[in-house]
């Protein structure tokens, strides 16, 4: 089984546009939406939820009203100001550090499981699709990314290929979606922040000794910057496998909740098809 992760460094460069098209073009594959803080692949992929599993992120304090003597010690040690005036815990502020549990003279406080969200496995045409739905205010973290990825592995029908839609940045969730993958497809755009964030994320990819291929999206809106990106990549031995032109069909596709490759007239769609053919060959070699 092989795994491809689509990441970008900078947000909004076209990860999901690319992933949804790859999902449509690939065969015998499962898809994981690991952009857990803002999942949206489920809107584009035609999917039927099959299984929903509760995700416990961490711990959260709970005060037993019966035992509480309202001494206020918990309040005085809480760094997050999470104990309300009526001696109840503010769920959103509580970080589950447990300082209040330590100081409570009457053992009225305990840490309970924090139900952070759900991990959902759906069936899609030709495979499975997993994603997470976190509660409002909940924190996306590497742990939930791990769950989303594992949920596909635990199944008896192991796919030949998993395509992972990653999240922007270089933080915890990105690290967790990178580790163990065979290849990274890095999408960027011809802007200064597109270039800077590309550099940072490629630096991270290096830690995992993983092959990375770069795609420049909307390359024709700033040819000068595109050239700069290409120069940076060639200097550092990263291959630019495709340059997607700006195309109003991408917007139309998003509005209709379809992958852009479904529109034959789309020039962006045609380039994505070409990119997929290259990636599909390269993944066989790694």
């Amino acid at each position: 089984m092989k795994q491809i992760v689509v990441i970008s460094g900078k947000g909004g460069t076209g990860k999901t546009t690319l992933t949804s098209s790859f999902a449509y073009l690939a065969k015998n594959r499962d898809i994981a939406d690991c952009d857990v803080e803002a999942p949206n692949l489920n809107l584009i992929l035609d999917n039927t939820p099959m299984k929903r599993e509760l995700y416990i992120g961490g711990k959260i304090a709970y005060i037993d009203k019966e035992k509480c003597i309202e001494c206020g010690k918990c309040k005085s040690v809480c760094r997050f100001d999470a104990v309300k005036d009526n001696f109840q815990i503010n769920d959103i502020k509580c970080e589950g550090c447990g300082a209040c549990v330590e100081v409570c003279p009457n053992e009225a406080i305990k840490l309970i499981d924090d139900e952070t969200g759900d991990v959902i496995i759906s069936s899609i045409e030709g495979g499975k699709f997993s994603y997470a739905q976190l509660r409002i205010g909940a924190d996306g973290a590497g742990k939930v990314v791990t769950k989303v990825r594992q949920s596909l592995m635990e199944d008896e029908n192991k796919p030949e290929l998993i395509i992972i839609d990653g999240s922007p940045g270089i933080g915890c969730v990105v690290i967790s979606s990178l580790t163990g993958c065979n290849m990274a497809v890095v999408v960027t755009e011809p802007t200064q922040s597109g270039l800077e964030d590309l550099m940072r994320v490629l630096n991270l990819v290096d830690y995992f000794r993983m092959k990375a291929y770069v795609v420049v999206n909307k390359f024709d809106i700033n040819l000068e910057k595109t050239k700069e990106i290409e120069d940076f990549c060639s200097k550092n031995n990263f291959e630019v496998v495709g340059k997607i032109p700006f195309d109003p069909y991408v917007n139309k596709a998003i509005k209709e909740s379809k992958p852009v490759v479904q529109f034959d007239e789309s020039i962006a769609g045609r380039e994505i098809k070409r990119i997929w053919n290259i990636i599909n060959e390269k993944i066989k070699e790694v």
Partner: protein
């Protein structure tokens, strides 16, 4: 020499866990005495910073060598500073990886080249 493996199970026949930060167990083998110690990885359950808690745990165990398959920047920084050598294991059991290590057949994982042009001094501030 104390060798620490990221492991999916609790003994030498278990598979090497491909992830360092979020592996299930650490199996620590003392090659002199052949003593085996199994430690549950606290990193697995931490929401954030799995690599950091996993690496701290391994350092506290006083190991000399780590064998795993994927290791991120945060763990690597901690292990490298603690003078622990990291080797890239194979997708096989702990036992066979231990044999390969003894025969000097595993590759060392080092910090990646730092010199992306324009990126010097940014990572690892």
């Amino acid at each position: 020499m104390k060798v620490c493996f990221s492991s999916e199970g609790r003994n030498l026949d278990s598979q090497l866990d491909p992830r360092f930060g979020r592996c299930k167990y650490f199996v620590i083998v003392d090659t002199k005495t052949n003593d085996i110690k199994v430690v549950e990885n606290e990193g697995l359950v931490s929401e954030h910073g799995a690599g950091v808690s996993a690496a701290n745990l391994v350092v506290d165990e006083g190991v000399d060598v780590v064998v795993t398959r994927n290791i991120g920047p945060n763990s690597m920084k901690i292990l490298t500073n603690a003078k622990i050598t990291i080797y890239e294991g194979k997708a096989d059991t702990i036992n066979s990886n231990l044999e390969l290590l003894k025969q000097d057949k595993l590759n060392e994982i080092k910090e990646p080249r730092k010199a992306h042009s324009g990126l010097q001094n940014r990572w690892g501030r």
